[in-house]
Assembly symmetry: C2
Homo-oligomer: 429 residues x 2
């Protein structure tokens, strides 16, 4: 049997603890599968409070940089988190020192993945990050290896369990965003400061990574168009149901003739689509390849145990001697494809206006849409309340985003429009 | 750049042609990803009719055995099909000669996978078969690599697109099995002799392979309990809808304290389950692991292009130098776990009787169930027709299969039961 693979774990929070528990509990099975043992030699965390798993056999460091400098581990597992600071420094130094790095850090990879991958390549070691995208779902392996034969045209999905939990809760109970967010916070599904999740930033980190792995384009987090779910209201969710849609926060990356689209925003998806049935904290990914057609993967996108499953899969690949370019091709082959501007995106739209109920409203709307070459599919106005504010809902045939935005600006300027219009993109997936 | 990987393709039918087209069309991208070219050097097929792709550059053989003997290819791609005959001989000889083998042949792997894997191991080469299970879905890679850290407790799914197409068609149109089968045959979704598909044998081949990869148990095709879909009737599909279920042909493998369950039969699954929404020719797999929890994968389970995607993924792994034990552990580590007998299976059941409508019927049924310790959950009898045959539908709480079967035998013997009872297992997944 080959010699053990030595591993040092930086960060004993949720994912770090899960990783150590997995390596302890399933050690025999892993050794049998890999033909060698995975041996934790060192751990690092400033917090020395007791853990619910044994740590006696590991050399304990307070300082991750010092651990990297002193350890003889083959692999540094970075589970500190954050795009900068110690997490970044640990990864940079470990790779430069010729040690493999496994991380669950989506912010770090989204912001510094290209530079880190170049360092890994230069030093002949692996930078692995399966756990950074969609937790337990092996989407990086699927894209990079399982679907390697395909030209990938599109990858999209539900990438943030917190947002999906909130949207599911809003739909099931009819409550407002704030109420369901508070519940999610109480249950530990949302952070005290929820903005990384609910404003779409976490999804954008993951989407930037996915786009690069799927299309072999350079990593460009700043190119992601990001909108969160704070503006989704129960009335829009109810209208979506009535129109045969579900509202999901999607990250969507597509290879178009205008360049690479990377966008994160609430979407209406057909109620019959696979992804519409992915509820609560689950994540889902849809990959569209020229030979395989569509592959869907659903699973837990976060949490101690599912994320540990992904971290250990990366460690196991290193133990087996498997070598993959960080993003599917070597860094120098990543293509600097242009980013498709959101203004030139073409798609269908749901629009909700709050208008004073009086004659002539539809005529004004219709002429603005006509003048912008925007074509209405359907319009709904339920109930009458002459002189009062009522919702008017429209669906719009495929049109250019810029024309849609301009139309809504002009509509908003009309005297009888009493609230900013709400617009949700319809994705006919 | 490393030297090209040389490949010889035996069998230029649907999958063979798809594989060659993929390797031709996406050659540049594959070379960039792999850092080396994949070069087809020889092909083999008795049928010399013109293909819709160029074959000029390949040495053409009529005899696959001769091709294996003469070629200098690194990889033999076996796409002839069938558990015996030339397909088996080609794989045996190629592996014995130290050549890697990639195959889409589920029957061959289900029947002879252990012996072939042992030959591969002895000769230090790869035997790869991603395309044998669920077409384009990378389920073997997912189980063997992506979820390597997990103790797998269960894997199940829709593994035959023909059956799923027929069941979907029956539900959507209310037609009988034979009518939808004839339509599927006309459309090319079912073979002229459909028994491999509709009698569950194809699903059983795939399930036997999945059980071994998931649990590390010895491969035992004969241990699979197999029932097909010929007995599923429109009335059962309608009752399933009413009770909140969908009928799917599932292959289910589970690690239980009674041994390994391997069963293929029609199931009622909750209408809200992910797998209930997998329609038509799509396949779906659900894996249950101790850390990752549940992962679902959906995609095209057959066809020229999706299957080619899986074949090429296996070739790419070989090109990259990735080495995996055929079934996740070396053959000598596969555990000879006992097969759990179907008679001791525990589950819930749907039962439909055709009975003469007269007093005392329910009392007779109830006492038979009581005497066999079988507990009824609900009973439905719609409409009255005194003295005539009417359907009576029951759902049964979790019970032992043997007690259920005995109860149905006793019920069938009653004078007022006019047809053999129909039983469909309910899976609360």
């Amino acid at each position: 049997m080959a010699s053990p693979l030595k591993v040092a774990v930086a960060g004993l929070g949720t994912v770090g603890s899960g990783t150590i528990k997995l390596l302890q509990q399933n050690a025999d099975r892993l050794t049998e599968r890999l033909g060698r043992a995975i041996l934790i030699t060192a751990v690092c965390d400033k917090d020395h409070s007791p853990r619910d798993y044994p740590v006696d056999g590991y050399r304990w460091y307070d300082d991750a940089i010092r651990m990297v400098a002193e350890t003889d581990a083959d692999v540094i597992v970075e589970l500190i988190g954050g795009a900068e600071g110690p997490a970044r420094a640990v990864c940079e130094r470990a790779l430069a020192a010729g040690r493999h790095v496994v991380t669950a850090n989506k912010a770090l990879i989204a912001h510094h993945g290209m530079a880190l991958a170049a360092t890994a390549e230069a030093n002949g070691v692996t930078l692995a990050y399966e756990a950074a995208v969609a937790g337990g779902i092996p989407i990086i392996k699927t894209l990079r290896e399982g679907l390697i034969g395909n030209e990938r045209r599109q990858v999209f999905g539900i990438l943030n369990g917190t947002c999906n939990y909130i949207l599911t809760g809003m739909r099931e109970t009819g409550r407002e965003f704030e109420a369901v967010l508070a519940e999610a916070q109480a249950l530990g599904y949302a952070e005290a400061d929820p903005s990384f999740d609910v404003d779409g930033i976490d999804t954008a980190h993951k989407l930037a990574i996915l786009a690069t792995v799927a299309f072999g384009c350079t990593l460009d987090f700043k190119a992601v168009h990001v909108e969160g779910i704070r503006h989704v209201s129960p009335v829009d969710i109810a209208y979506a149901d009535e129109l045969g849609y579900r509202i999901k926060l999607l990250g969507i990356a597509a290879l178009t003739d205008r360049g690479v689209e990377r966008r994160v925003h609430p979407c209406m998806v057909p109620a019959g689509a696979q992804i519409a049935h992915v509820e609560g904290v689950f994540n889902a990914l849809v990959v569209d390849g020229d030979f395989v057609d569509t592959v869907v993967q659903v699973g837990r996108g976060a949490g101690e145990r599912p994320t540990a499953s992904a971290v250990v899969a990366d460690i196991a690949d290193i133990a087996r001697g498997t070598r993959q370019p960080t993003f599917g091709v070597s860094v120098r082959h990543l293509r600097p494809l242009p980013a498709a501007p959101m203004a030139s995106h073409r798609g269908a739209y749901y629009v909700r206006l709050m208008v004073v109920d009086r004659p002539g409203v539809f005529a004004d709307i219709a002429s603005i849409l006509r003048d912008n070459d925007v074509s209405m599919e359907a319009v709904l106005q339920r109930g009458r309340a002459p002189g009062e504010a009522v919702p008017v809902v429209m669906t719009i045939h495929e049109t250019e985003e810029a024309a849609m935005v301009k139309s809504l600006q002009q509509i908003q300027a009309l005297s009888w429009v009493v609230e900013p219009p709400r617009m949700i993109r319809i994705e006919l997936i």
